[in-house]
């Protein structure tokens, strides 16, 4: 399955070394989305949807590096100029998450202050 440390993701292994008889296996969804959403020729359509405006795409699918800090230290920080990655999308997501957590905690506190947890223990 592996040659040295080359990962051959199951579905693509056949495609990789040309042993597939029945054409390429379906590629990994993440790899496809990365390409069809972010790459490819942009020509103005007359039905315009700015993919950057789509919340799910920017927040759920995009791609924050695990070790931003380390990478920045050694100068691999090119994504900071990438509209997909900056565009405040991350910050907005963080804020939303914080607010949600806040709400949850407040609820929990008032639950605790009111004495019996309302059904949450059973």
């Amino acid at each position: 399955m592996t040659t040295g440390n080359v990962i051959q993701p199951g579905a693509e292994a056949a495609q990789l070394y040309g042993v597939s008889a029945s054409g390429p296996a379906p590629a990994n969804l993440g790899d496809i989305l990365e390409r069809v959403l972010d790459k490819g020729l942009v020509i103005a359509g007359d039905i315009q949807v700015n993919l950057l405006d789509i919340e799910l795409l920017t927040i759920k699918l995009r791609l924050i590096v695990a070790s931003l800090e380390t990478a920045r230290e050694v100068g691999i920080n090119w994504w900071e100029n990438d509209p997909w990655l900056s565009a405040d999308a991350g910050r907005r997501a963080d804020e939303r998450e914080l607010r949600a957590e806040n709400r949850k905690l407040r609820g929990r506190i008032s639950e605790l202050e009111s004495g019996e947890p309302n059904g949450s223990r059973r």
Binding site: N5, G45, V49, I54, E55, L56, V65, V74, W78
Partner: protein, 254 residues
């Protein structure tokens, strides 16, 4: 199909296109061609109730819908590129009519021809570089509690661990850059792509680099073995090779 129709674009080519009617595109549409300003655009009809501006915006938020559409879009491009060189268009490029397609291409002829010359007959390979999991470092003097007591011993141990992991992270990044340099040397063009989150890559190891390489089709085998070689000379890394892809990452102008 009910209601108004739009044209969903897949790719642009200078080739005549030929009979693509056996190709099924987005939403089950039959792929056909539209001639526009010296180019041929691969399109299929889409119902504007589902693919119009408002609906599209909503539907793109739906991952199930998005997956189906993305796979269908990719499928058409992948099948067509076996027949002739093309430039894949970005997902969700929709027109109201063939005349609108022609108008969109009218002023970009020179640029598109140049792009086709650049990517024609070439394929894209993707390489994702991960940091290999680090072996848990040797526990130093665990039992010994020095003058500072257990607390200080813990802190020292913790600091040593942190330094070691920082060191291996740096080594991995340096390795990743070296591999990228080596692989770029074999490619007509190379491009850095934002690294994917673990959620997207389905891999828990931190992704250091995500790169795309444009190669002559005949260079694919050599490239795959260069990746395998790089992987064995860099035990600090894990490399994942995907492809061959249509030259998505090289179709745009940047």
């Amino acid at each position: 199909m009910t209601g108004a129709c739009g044209l969903w674009a897949y790719a642009i080519t200078e080739h005549g296109g030929g009979d693509l009617s056996r190709l099924t595109g987005v939403a089950g549409g039959t792929v056909r061609t539209v001639a526009a300003g010296g180019f041929t655009v691969l399109v299929s009809d889409v119902d504007l109730a589902e693919f119009g501006e408002v609906a599209l915006r909503r539907n793109l938020e739906n991952l199930t819908w998005l997956e189906e559409v993305a796979r269908a879009h990719h499928h058409v491009i992948e099948a067509a590129i076996r027949l002739f060189p093309l430039l894949p268009t970005r997902l969700a490029t929709v027109y109201s009519s063939a005349a609108a397609v022609a108008a969109a291409l009218a002023r970009r002829g020179e640029e598109l021809r140049a792009a086709l010359r650049r990517v024609g007959g070439r394929v894209e390979w993707g390489v994702k570089t991960y940091a290999a999991p680090v072996q848990a470092g040797g526990e130093t003097a665990r039992g010994e509690v020095g003058a500072g007591g257990a607390g200080l011993a813990y802190l020292k141990r913790r600091r040593a661990q942190l330094t070691a992991s920082e060191r291996s992270a740096r080594a991995a990044l340096a390795g990743a850059r070296a591999v990228h340099e080596e692989l770029s040397g074999r490619a007509a063009q190379a491009r850095l792509v934002p690294p994917q989150s673990a959620q997207l890559s389905g891999n828990q190891m931190p992704m250091l680099l995500n790169t795309a390489y444009l190669l002559d089709e005949s260079a694919s085998d050599g490239f795959a073995s260069a990746v395998a070689d790089a992987a064995s000379t860099h035990p600090e890394l894990r490399l994942e090779l995907t492809g061959p892809w249509p030259p998505y990452s090289f179709a745009g102008e940047d």
